[in-house]
């Protein structure tokens, strides 16, 4: 159960959704070999379970760096859209990256934040977003004007389609339940990195 929220975060009345369901909807919209960078933990597990696209990168450590990694891919390949998937705990660890994204205004970057208000994988301790921090308000204040809470599944589909079509940078925050991730990623960082680079057309395939 996700606890009812108090404070600033309660200003939005977004529906509590499910990360795996939404990950599947997100991946279903990808038609142009968009890159997806998944943050550590359940974010990645659900991305993995949604189907292992060659353009997916699964972070195995470096908590908080999904958005910076995605920004780097976006800078290197400006004609490809890049999506970062990150959890609330991970984003809170590296909030400064939103200021960098706001400053650079890289338009082929979309960030999706799954916010369950807990550090789920370590024992469901509360994050600051459970009671006080509003991640969309923080993103807007960092200069990312296209930042919004998804009200429900249909709203998420619409926001994500618009982010892909119109460009950004955009941030979509989603309130999610406390269901654990569905799958588990492979644990070979070189294989994951090499497959991703091939998926992005960077490596010649022998």
């Amino acid at each position: 159960m996700t606890k009812p929220r108090t404070g600033i975060a309660s200003a939005h009345n977004a529906k509590v959704m499910n990360r795996f369901e939404l990950t599947k909807r997100l991946v279903g919209q990808l038609k142009r070999e968009e890159a997806v960078v998944g943050g550590i933990g359940n974010t990645n597990f659900d991305l993995w379970a949604s189907g292992q696209r060659p353009q997916n990168f699964y972070m195995l450590g470096s908590m908080g760096l999904a958005i910076p990694i995605a920004l780097g891919v976006a800078l290197a390949q400006p004609r490809r859209h890049v999506v970062a998937l990150e959890g609330d705990g991970s984003l809170l660890m590296q909030l400064g990256c939103l200021a960098t994204v706001g400053m650079l205004a890289q338009n082929n970057l979309t960030m999706v934040v799954w916010d369950n208000g807990i550090y789920q994988i370590t024992g469901s301790q509360p994050t600051a977003s459970a009671s006080a921090a509003d991640l969309v308000a923080i993103a807007r204040a960092a200069g990312i004007a296209k930042s919004a809470w998804a009200a429900d599944e249909e709203d998420f589909d619409r926001l994500f389609a618009s982010a892909l079509a119109e460009g950004g940078p955009s941030l979509i925050a989603v309130r999610i339940d406390d269901k654990p991730g569905i799958g588990a990623t492979d644990r070979d960082p070189v294989q994951i990195r090499e497959r991703f680079m091939r998926g992005l057309g960077v490596r010649r395939i022998a």
């Binding site: 972070m59 910076p68 990694i69 891919v73 390949q77 990256c97 960082p189 070189v190 992005l200």
Partner: protein, 182 residues
């Protein structure tokens, strides 16, 4: 730079030329007083994509993503910034085999006034050694181009990070004011 051509006068011109010569387009940095002329010169050269990040590990993430997308990148920082990096190095750049180029302006030595800088400097080489990251402390301008150029090529060829520690002997270091302000 070609050996036959006239040597650039300044260390930062040599670093810039080596980056360019090796197609290192992306330079993310957390600034340092000593690095100021290098950062300024990179900003003024349209070859580069350059910007500050809020933390050094953020820059490591960006350069890692850029490499995977086909663009070479470097991170500029000072000694205390390097000290924030071991997790990003040990869990991303090293195991993923990323040719991450790190330029570290060395504080904490040769007349440091700030005890914290002096202590943090002592953690840098043991941290690099413990991760088996190649590092060079550069003290002489006549060796700079050789070390940087060759090591960038080695980093790319061996898919491994490298750290260039820019000694005050090379850069002049930070000018310490009487009484040790800042």
């Amino acid at each position: 730079m070609n050996k036959a051509s006239a040597q650039p006068a300044n260390w930062y011109e040599i670093v810039l030329a080596s980056l360019k010569h090796n197609d290192v387009k992306l330079v993310a940095y957390v600034p340092d007083r000593v690095l100021t002329p290098l950062i300024k010169a990179i900003h003024e050269d349209s070859f580069f994509i350059t910007f500050p990040t809020t933390r050094e590990e953020e820059a490591v993430g960006i350069v890692t993503g850029a490499w995977m997308g086909g663009m070479r990148g470097a991170v500029l920082m000072q000694t205390s910034g390097f000290a924030t990096l071991p997790n990003a190095l040990a869990s991303l750049a090293v195991p993923s085999q990323i040719p991450l180029l790190m330029f570290v302006s060395e504080r904490g030595t040769l007349g440091e006034f700030n005890l914290g800088q002096a202590l943090v400097c002592r953690t840098m080489r043991p941290a690099l050694d413990s991760l088996a990251i190649v590092h060079h402390t550069i003290t002489r301008i006549d060796e700079l181009e050789f070390i940087v150029d060759r090591s960038i090529k080695q980093a790319v060829a061996t898919q491994a990070p490298v750290a260039f520690i820019l000694s005050p002997l090379l850069t002049g270091g930070k000018v310490f004011e009487q009484g040790g302000a800042r």
